[in-house]
Amino acid sequence: MSDRIFSFSIYCISLIVVAAFVWIISDVVLKGYSLVSWDFIVSEPEDAGRGGGIAPILVSTLWVLLIALVIALPLGIATAIWLAEFSRSNTGAVHIGTALDVLAGVPSIVYGLFGNAFFCIYLGLGYSILSGGLTLACMILPVFIRTCESGIRAVNSDWRLGGIALGMRRSVVVWKILLPAAKPAIIAGLVLSIGRATAETAALIFTSGYVDRMPESMFDSARVLAVHIYDLTMNVTGGDQAAYGSALILIVLIIVLNALAQSLLDSWFRRSEYS
């Protein structure tokens, strides 16, 4: 009997969680669907975002994200490898690990203020795609490193010893055995990072900025989708409709990017395993 109550409550709880998710998605889809068209995606915003489309904003979002990932991915994987394999858990590594955990919990507005002070003003990059991308890279690094690190640590030690017993170099063990084995964790870290970065508002409004023109270079200020949605709902009178349209695009974009990232990593690992 108590078993039944237990499983019943588990079902109920998961139903509530799924219902909340479905409610949010269907709210956005129902209210945004009518607005989304090819025109909406390829035209420039007009009338403070209430009319027109989101072309420059979509392009800016992708640029900021690309910069963030190009910087965070190699740095993150390298740091994770060092922490898991080469640091021998000395005090330095332990401190770095603690620092990463603290940084992972820091609210994104703090990264925004740091990015504004450091990249925009101190380094003189100004409000720009570059400042925004670098700030995002700082923001996603802690979570990404920690996820990858735990993935690498979780690889069975027999595999490491086996590789070394066969006379493989440590570096080859890392490339050929550990990283491919840690693939699910790396993909999970990447998906988390992409989601967090694409949906970021606070860290970007003061770094990549508010300008909704089509960016001409990395030093141009550019508005990303999340900032656009925030401005339309909170600041622009009558902007709700366009905000729902943009939110729908944002959701679709995150899904597409995640699928893309997974297949890219997949194909890379497949080659590194058998070549």
Binding site: D47, A48, G49, L66, I67, V70, P74, I121, Y127, L130, R169, S171, V172, W175, K176, I205, F206, G209, Y210, V211, D212, R213, E216, S217, M218, F219, D220, S221, D231, T233, M234, N235, V236, T237, G238, G239, W268, R271, S272, S275
Partner: protein, 283 residues
Amino acid sequence: MRVSFRNLLSQASRKFLTKSLTLTVSIGLSVFSNISIAGERLTLTGSSTVAPLALEMAKRYEKNHPDVRINVQTGGSSRGINDARVGLSDIGMVSRGLKDSEKDLTPHVIALDGIGIIVHSSNTVTQLTRDQIVDIYTGNIKNWRQVGGDDVEITVVNKAEGRSTLELFLHFFKLKNSQIKPQVVIGDNQQGIKTVSGNPGAIGYVSIGTAEFEHNRGTAIKLLPMDGEQASVVGVASGDYPLSRPLNLVTKGELNGVTADFIKFVQSDAVSDLIENQFFVAP
């Protein structure tokens, strides 16, 4: 040494490295090749209320002057003052008149905006005196019954520190922010409207143009008159409505070049339709 390095980079990882290198280099190239495109640049920072209007004005100006780029950034009026003062921006956006301590900057009025007291549309109260509003905001009146309404607790919605709507409100009612006992603190106008329309006991204050627009499209709010004057865009334009503010662009020092030209442009008739579209009043 060289041999071991080569082994380290097995074929696949080398390919990956090459690819990411090419990517980095091509991004780098696109960065540097594009620097020269830009002609004159203007940066505007400040009030989030003025920002959408300034952005639209800037777009129209850019259309007439293809070599000029005008970047609009938000962050609040205090930021607009500060950035213009220290030279981080060419022009600051400030949604209030300048204070005595800010007379080192020159204001240029581009539009007017009134601040209206809003309550939920189900509220039976039709007007409040200045004293009643002060008592509500300082926590002396806690229930709508005490001002002739239904037996509903009052939810006081106040603006966040640094917002010029707050400063204007405090100045008009001769209050200090520390005297106000708010239940909710909000940032932008739309957020104020969403808070009040979702709470039958709430009272707040927002831009009149925004409130009028939202009321007309059926949002559950209503504007209360001030000193017997109807809160409306028309009242702000005629000057009859007492609680209003100028929307300013502020500059430091002598005006010249593009800055002067842009300010002349935004004060001309060429942008009056844009002001109306943003629910403000042309000066």
